[in-house]
Symmetry: D2
Subunit: 293 residues, 4 copies
């Protein structure tokens, strides 16, 4: 079911956030706390923006587990970024463990991650692919539901080269889920789909905590905002911050033990972060989504 | 553009054929003689049948070059087989180097390899995929034209679980090419496609040397038949054989220097090998192919 | 700390024993029952003998986890063997995850695995290496204590090309441990070393369950003998066997739930299996070991 | 025999130098011009300094060929550095292709690359290792002569944490070669050794073009200095530069066709580059070297 994290704020060293918190993402690769099975060892990926170099992000993925990857450690200890995504994978049954299936997926300036699964994906895969314009159809390199959902998101943007507002990003995420839900419903799929998605263009970030069956609990999702992330005595933690040093972190699990640092995203809520770090959390509007289709 | 070989005959050690001939396939991974670029270092694969164990073949693939892979060496030095395929890849521009894109491709009891390229593949990919039944559509794990051509071949068999005669296998191969040619023609693709395919169900083998533009030379293809492959003083070579010890080898390049050991397959000819090693070479019948569609 | 298994008996399909038992080694790669940490995801290896092909074993290793490796699955589903070793690794802190560090280690006709760790290895590494003849010194490709212990074992054989009796193999294993213990003692190492080793030449097998501090419990080790391993309805299990069909399995954990199938090796006992499957378990004789040095 | 390059100057994008010159290092991975065999496909590595982040360099290595590695491409397109090393490997016969054997080797703030081979390495390996202090002895992770030569270099520095002048770096390089030459001579090794080494601490750089038999031609080595490297219309080239924008590039082959851009290092000459880009080329003084021992 995977674990992920998003960072947006003052440029920090990737390793400070990936390795140094008490419940760091790297630890979660073999000791996740909020999954029944604590293991996320089916590859990993990190995508980071270097705004002074390029509007597109750099991406490093590997199908070996994150906990032992020396390249990941050496890379993240030497790169700072104001915006990055990281993901550790627990492959769904039947989904292959390949580099092509590692998150985050990247297209132009966009990064995308998923924690969950689309129930009945094979029943909608053909229809989904048919809906895609050629450029996106041919850009798909792997076989996951997650990468295909990303292609749907991109197809709903009219132009994948432009940046968009946090609000538009969030709305497009809602439309993506609405479309997936419509297709699975029309295909007669019964079981629930888990849609914890995160997306960014390096400026704004949107993330969602959603399960299609309202009686169920979505996969865990947290955020921390209005503080500064810092590394003290080798341990990563959140601290009070002046304006201009603030950061927003979105993560599948709390990275630190102090519960006041983290807000649990309510079920079926959408989280958006503007380029200047304004965070908005709102209940997904199902009506609007349906009207959009 | 890749290099490949097929073996069918008395069970032999895989390494004897893959490593020991003077121009072995492993040497061809960095020193191919009949390609402008001598390098085939974008991964490799070997598939072998163990008839007393299973009707389906074992497959070992890797995206590292064949020349340095220790697992390949140790595996092929400890496995004997009466029928195996091996392939070293030179990825076409734009095609990713992943394990999922390594040949031979396997589905049930079938193995498939390709040396060449379908011109304008992206222009027919959607139509090709739409033509596939669900089982084959979802089984595709990579992004190559080669694997997609295999899916077309499999879709033309009515039942991928049964074995078929060498003749039927050859005819299905012709129909596969006819279909690909029809689609590329209808898509307005101009340039030539190179279709050196090999396929087997572990019993019969079919291979073809074909380029769609008759004014061009197809990619090289040879076979050796009616002899026995043996390893003398560590060098693999062909020798006279009694009935029951004979073997057929099909290869992109001659594996040994004695030219009399090898027959060059004529352009646009189909080669079939029956389970009891009868070899047939015939000119592809374009008319029949078109009637089939 | 790793998990391993050894099989010796009637030729069986490797996958039947590796994948099909209820607590199979592959399951132990992420769900080991008798380790505090249930994860053994730092690579794996399998070594098998094909006596009609070669006196040396084939070996396949990879640094990806065993649970998702397609090559391992396809290989073991197509190879039968009367004698094989398999190992899933949990790297000790500071030991790198590389293919060179994957067990089983192979030298000529011998295979070697280790589950445990030599306390203070770095304090004896130089002395250990100095004791090795050139051939063994240069053959070491990795950095683990386990591979170095294997080199000591090989150096105690006068000729690594010959086969030896189960009894001599066991005695050489005891001498190996005695030498390691002497060196660590002389280096002033305090903490306990865990020495669950297994070794074979394809004919005899020896394994040991030992911890240097007698007040501690060695790592778990079991064996099953005098029965036949079979796969019923896809589940691997032990059954009564006629002579000639019997098998001996040695494993870090019980592979099946029926406790009567398995004997727990007593602490500090040596287990040997003769080529005709006679099993002997005896308390390690410390006096003899010391006299040997 | 490998190919390498060193860059020191104004921070530039790694990919501009690695991918964009007409005879870029990545092209040399399959089409080197000045080697008999044009292939350098046995893995690669890149090490770069980010002075505002750390005095130690980041390193990314892989055993797949450089030409197809997506992580390398994406990483180098998003990292700028004022000092970096890159290496593509052609493994010497018998040397394994593993990540541990990929250059550049890193220790603390130092990076090290080698293009060549120490004749009779196995005859001096034990003596070499014995000469090393524990810290360096245990830090060796691979099996190459190159990494062992690096350990000798480091052992000749009294403190591997400090930076040293270009001159001292060059002298230590000479002493390293002198020591290796003395040991091979004393071991009775006859054949020539090729010692094109490059080393840096992120501040100064030293490189050498040397073969032990003066009648032979050393492996090619070039440098370009006093200019600026820039990328025009996607092609990397050298241009006139103002002070402060200058750069020094040292490379096994000329990266661009304009011969005036490149100076061939004379045989058995040492090249040093100071932190402020002063280049010095001097004939190796054999007498001094011998006195040093």
């Amino acid at each position: 079911m995977c674990r992920f994290l998003c960072y947006k704020g003052k440029p920090i060293l990737l390793s400070d956030l990936l390795y140094r918190p008490k419940n760091s993402l790297i630890l979660q690769s073999y000791r996740a706390r909020e999954r029944t099975v604590p293991l996320n060892g089916d590859g990993f990926g990190v995508g980071w923006y270097a705004p002074d170099i390029s509007p597109t992000p750099g991406v490093f993925t590997s199908l070996t587990p994150a906990w032992s990857n020396q390249n990941l450690k050496r890379l993240t200890e030497h790169v700072k970024s104001p915006c990055f995504f990281a993901h550790i994978r627990a492959a769904s049954p039947g989904m292959r463990v390949t580099e092509e299936n590692c998150h985050p997926f990247q297209h132009g300036r966009y990064l995308w991650m998923h924690n969950g699964g689309i129930e009945g994906f094979y029943q909608i895969k053909r229809r989904l692919r048919q809906s895609l314009p050629d450029q996106l159809y041919h850009a798909i390199g792997g076989t996951t539901d997650s990468e295909h959902a990303f292609a749907v998101f991109l197809s709903l943007l009219e132009d994948t080269d432009r940046t968009i507002s946090a609000s538009e990003m969030g709305q497009t995420l809602l439309k993506t889920i609405a479309r997936l839900e419509q297709w699975t419903a029309e295909a007669g799929v019964i079981g629930p789909s888990y849609y914890n998605f995160a997306v960014t263009d390096g400026q704004a970030v949107a993330a969602i905590r959603y399960v299609s069956d309202q009686r169920l609990e979505p996969i865990s999702l947290y955020y921390s905002a209005g503080k500064r992330f810092e590394c003290v005595d080798g341990v990563g933690q959140m601290a009070m911050a002046d304006t201009g040093e603030q950061a927003v972190i979105i993560a599948s699990e709390r990275l630190t033990d102090r519960q006041s640092d983290w807000v649990r995203v309510a079920p079926n809520h959408l989280l958006t972060v503007t380029p200047d770090l304004k965070v908005s959390v709102e209940l997904m509007s199902v009506e609007r989504r349906q009207a959009d289709l």
